[in-house]
Structure formats: structure tokens, C-alpha cells
Amino acid sequence: MNQKTVYLLKRVGLTIFSLYAIVTVIFFLFRLVPGDPTTAILNPRMTEETRQIILETYGLTKPLHEQYVIFIGNLLTFNLGVSYMNGQLVSTLLFEKTLNTMALVMFALILAFLLGPLIGAYIAWYRGSKVDSIAIAILLTLRGAPVFWTGMLGIMLFSFTLGWLPPGGLRSAGFIGTQADKFLSLDFLYHLVLPLSVTTAYFLSMPAFVMRNSMIDVLNEEFIELCRARGMSNNRILYLHAARNSLLPVLHYSAVVIGFGFGGSVVIEVVFSWPGLGLLMFDAVMQNDYPVAQASFVMLATIILALNLLADSLSSFVDPRAVVEGVG
């Protein structure tokens, strides 16, 4: 078994362990709230009968450790219960909403990690110049401005003032079509433009900066000079040699951005009324819908951890030395 495989297995193990830990914490958090456990968990608007049924279904009458086993079992079989808000199966809700979030947040992250490093590499090459200073100012502003505020500004400008784009939502009312159609239609794209632009702009400053810093170090290395001596054009040196060597820290940093991105999805989806996981969790919390809140939280954590794992496994492709040295 070579080093790469060992390392990957270790990482997978850590991911599973982290997920397990989070799930356990959630369990205890939701069970051990201050006050009477039943009133905390049950929706006060329910009738006495419904209360009893729910207590039974959730096994809330059983001792804690038994509840825990049932809880884990339920999670693994995707038996996530029923929403208090609208009575739907939590698992179906989750699936639908997750897709919507991916369509926005995942897409934005990918774009950010494509554009960000390109920008970062370019300004690193021209470090110290006016272009660099201006670019830094713009990037810092994009990063510093709260994404929901830029969203609001975007809506104000493009929806209300100019009337070019819709102020939110995933698609226009009265849309009829299959699941796939939902994402492939022009209507969807029309609704995607503003949220995607705002979100991507917000995300891309992070990889851009990491790339820039990394490049500045790499550009001072010996082999870059040899590339120059060999008669390579500036673009070739910039993109094929300097940039390629600068990517590893960007990949490491992606873990932070991913966590940031999916955490921020709550706020982004609220502003754009985008019916995704974040908005779902928000609504659930607002209405004390415990099953949904719990499930969506775990789902978010799972996505983040899974993507982190993916990013880590890519590191050996980006830089052949990564596995030997170990990552992070």
C-alpha cells in the first residue's frame, strides 16, 4: 500500500469521525435543551394526540442511550422524520433543496476557483504596479462588503431600477416542466444570473489573494529564472510554470472557502429567496421545526466535509510533492 493510499484512508477516516462527532453533538444539543424536553421539542400548536404520536415516533419516551442508537440508525437509513412546517418527508425536502443550493453555491465556488487564481496570478506578475493596487482594492472591497448587502444592491439596481432581472426566486411562477427541465431552462438561467454573479464575486477574492501570495514566493525561485534563460515567453512562464507551482496553497485554502461558502448560503438564499438548503434551515429555525433544522444542519456539515476531502485528495495531482510532505 503506497503512501498516497494510506494518506487518503486516513483523511477519509478523519472525515467520517468528524461527521460522527458533529451528529452526536447535534443529538445531545437537541435533546438536552434547558427546560421541559417535551415542550422544547414539540410544536406548541399541536394537539395532545399528535404530541403522543410524535413522542412515540421519536422514541422520546425511551432512555437516552436507546434514543441515540435509534437516532443514528434513522440517519443512516435516511429516515429523517417529517417536517413540522408542512408535513413533508424531511428526506425529500432535503434532496430537493440541496440540489438548488448546489446549483447556486457549488457553481459559484467553481467559478470563483477558476477566476480567482487567474486574477491572482496575473496581479502577482505585475506586483507593485497600479494594476495590482487597484485590483487589490477591488478584491478587498468585494470581500469586505457583506454579501447580502451587495445582493440587495444588485436587486435594487438590476431588478427594481433597471428591471432587467428578477428580484429572486428560482423560477417564475407557473413554471411547468420536469426536474431536469427546471435547471436547463432559460427561465432558470434568467433567475440565476444575479445571485450567481454576486456570490461568485464574493467568493473569488479569497483564492485570488492566496494565489497572489503564493505566486510572489514562487516567482523568486531559481527555476523561474532558468525558464527565462531558456527563452520562454512571459505568458508561458506565468501560467504554465509559476501558476502551476502556486496552486497547492490555493487548494488547501479551499477548505476554508468551502465552509465559508456553504455557511454563507443561508444569508445568500434569504436575500435572493433561493429555495435551497440554507433557506430551508433558516425557515426551520424560525419556526422551531426541529427535524428539518437538525437534518439540514447535518447535511450542510456533510457537504462541507465531503468537499474538503475531495479537495485534499486532489492535492497530489496538483503538486507531486504533496503526498510525500503530507498536507496540512
Binding site: E221, E222, L226, R230, N245
Partner: protein
């Protein structure tokens, strides 16, 4: 045939608000097939001089005056584009110091060799064939072309760097400290390789080093630099058997030489002058045991025999200096 002609080349760097005069009025020629060794301590300007030939100076460095003629063309005036197209690597290539990472860590050595050939539109042979040939030429198994630089030893990496320099069969190669940082045994191997290639192909070579023994091994002619100036130039025989500048004499006696009767080594006390504000007159005068008041006037390059020049007022006294130079007591700190 003279391939390279440097005339009165001066180079300076802008550092903060001041100018560092790294190279001052250096002239020399290189004939076809010659190995020229350029020696001097760190900071003497030898690497700066070499880099200027291929316009590899950093942005704050520039050639203030002088010409660098390659086959009749002034390399200083050439545009970057033309330099890339016709001179770099095709006419003049570069062997970098092995201790640093001269090879891109994220590409295999085969890929890097291939790239070198591709960007110059090499078409004499199928590129892969040439890559295999080059690796074999420097003593590396072509099967290793899928390896990354960090998977090779220091000596092997240096061989790859040499293979890369040979890729387009250039008429001249500049080798910058090619053996520094390597184990002594490997040093010899690399030097042998370089010599063998040079004899075989008859290429011209500029060998930059601070290690006088390397030069003693393989150079035809030697240039000694000190504080940015060329202070002595001659054939290897002349420099080693008849050093005419006090600095060269000191250098000689500071290095152990195999085959010579044992004697005590000397050290030249003091340090080279600051090149931001270089002293007038001879730059070695504060450390020279033989300096006089006359040395406040900049010495000319005196010829001692045809082709052998030294930048000193007292070249006629060289035999005396050579004898006294062997006595450690001569080299006393005179500050």
C-alpha cells in the same frame, strides 16, 4: 574565431535610493572552443556579468555602458523577443547552480526537456528521441524521464540541468557554479562530464565559480574578478604558475593544491569594498600587503606577456610578490 566580445561593460543595481556598481568596465573575448573560467569571491560581480549576457538581470539591474557582442550582434541592444527567438538557448545556454531548484518541481524531467525543444521548434529529430539521447549523453537512464525532480539525487538533477543546456546544441554554454553544493565525489563526476562534452562538441564555455580548483581542472583561460573589476586575465598556466596581481597571489596561497609540497595556507584579511560608493584608485589597496601611495591612482591593465594582463602598478615586481605571498606573515591585517 572570436564569438563573444565584451567591451567596457559596466552594470549597476538600483537598491532603495542608491546605486550599487556591481561591474565596472570589464572587457574580454571568448574564442570558439575555449573554456574561460571566471573566478572571484562572492559579490565580485562575476554572476552579474554572466547574467547580463542573456539579459537575465532583475528589473533593478541594468547595463550602464559597454557592448556585449555575440557574432557581431550587440546583445545589450537586442529586444526581448529577438533574444528569445534567436539567442537564448539556441546560441547560448545556461547551466544553473544545482544546490537550488533549477528544475520546475511539478513537471517530470522528460516533460521539461521536451518543452525546451518544443518552444524552439526543434525538428531535427523526433522530440522524444532527442530527449532520450540527451539523458543518455549525461549518464541518466532514459527510463527515468517520468520522474519528478525531487525523486532524483542532487547529482542526477545537475546532470539533467546539463542535458537541458545541451538540448539545442548551442555554440556556447555559461555554467554558473555548476558544482557548488554537490558532494566532492559528485563534483568530480560533473566536471568530468562537462569536460567530456566540451571536448566532444568543441563548444565555448564560460565557467563561473568561486572555487579556484575547479578552474584549475578544466579552464583554458582564466579571468579573475575583484570588487566588480577584472583584475587579472591570462591562460591557466600563466595564472597559476605566474600570478601577477597581489589578489591572485593571495588566492593561490589560500587554497590547498594537491601535488604541491605542503605549506601553510594564508588568508587575506579584510573584506571587499562597498560597491555603492567604491573607493577611488585600486580597489584592493586596503587589503594589499604591497600597496603604496601610488595605488590611489586607478591602475591600468599592464601586460606581462602576450595576453596576460593584470590591473596593478607593480606588475614588474610580481616575482618578488609571489615569493613573499607564500609567507603567511605578509598577509597581516593592516587596517
Amino acid at each position: 574565431m572570436t564569438l563573444l566580445e565584451l567591451t567596457d561593460v559596466s552594470i549597476s543595481y538600483s537598491v532603495d535610493a542608491t546605486e550599487l556598481h556591481a561591474v565596472d568596465n570589464v572587457s574580454f573575448d571568448a574564442e570558439e572552443g575555449e573554456i574561460i573560467g571566471i573566478v572571484g569571491e562572492s559579490g565580485c560581480g562575476k554572476t552579474t556579468l554572466a547574467k547580463s549576457i542573456l539579459q537575465l538581470l532583475p528589473p533593478n539591474g541594468r547595463v550602464d555602458q559597454g557592448e556585449i557582442m555575440w557574432k557581431g550582434e550587440d546583445l545589450v541592444q537586442l529586444s526581448r523577443k529577438d533574444l528569445n527567438k534567436s539567442i537564448r538557448w539556441k546560441e547560448i545556454s545556461w547551466i544553473a547552480q544545482s544546490a537550488m531548484n533549477a528544475l520546475d518541481p511539478v513537471y517530470t524531467i522528460g516533460a521539461q526537456l521536451r518543452e525546451t525543444l518544443k518552444i524552439h521548434s526543434y525538428d531535427e529529430k523526433p522530440i522524444d528521441e532527442q530527449v532520450d539521447y540527451l539523458l543518455k549523453r549525461v549518464g541518466i537512464d532514459p527510463g527515468r524521464k517520468r520522474n519528478y525532480p525531487h525523486e532524483l539525487s542532487g547529482g542526477q538533477r545537475q546532470r539533467v540541468v546539463i542535458a537541458m543546456a545541451l538540448a539545442l546544441d548551442p555554440p556556447m554554454i555559461i555554467a554558473d557554479e555548476p558544482t557548488t553544493g554537490l558532494d566532492v565525489g559528485i563534483q568530480k563526476e560533473i566536471l568530468d562530464l562537462i569536460t567530456e562534452i566540451q571536448t566532444n562538441r568543441g563548444m565555448t564555455m564560460l565557467l563561473i565559480t568561486h572555487d579556484i580548483n575547479v578552474v584549475a581542472e578544466i579552464a583554458d583561460r582564466v579571468l579573475v574578478m575583484y570588487a566588480g573589476q577584472l583584475i587579472e586575465q591570462g591562460t591557466k598556466q600563466e595564472i597559476f604558475d605566474d600570478p601577477s596581481h597581489p589578489y591572485t597571489i593571495g588566492l593561490q596561497n589560500a587554497f590547498p593544491r594537491l601535488g604541491q609540497r605542503s605549506r601553510t595556507l594564508v588568508t587575506i584579511p579584510g573584506a571587499p569594498p562597498n560597491l555603492v560608493d567604491p573607493p577611488s584608485g585600486c580597489r584592493f589597496k586596503t587589503r594589499c600587503p604591497f600597496s603604496t601611495d601610488e595605488c590611489s591612482i586607478d591602475p591600468p591593465l599592464e601586460t606581462t606577456s602576450n595576453g596576460h594582463v593584470a590591473k596593478c602598478h607593480y606588475t614588474e615586481k610580481k616575482d618578488e610578490f609571489q615569493e613573499m605571498g607564500q609567507i603567511p606573515g605578509t598577509w597581516v591585517d593592516r587596517r
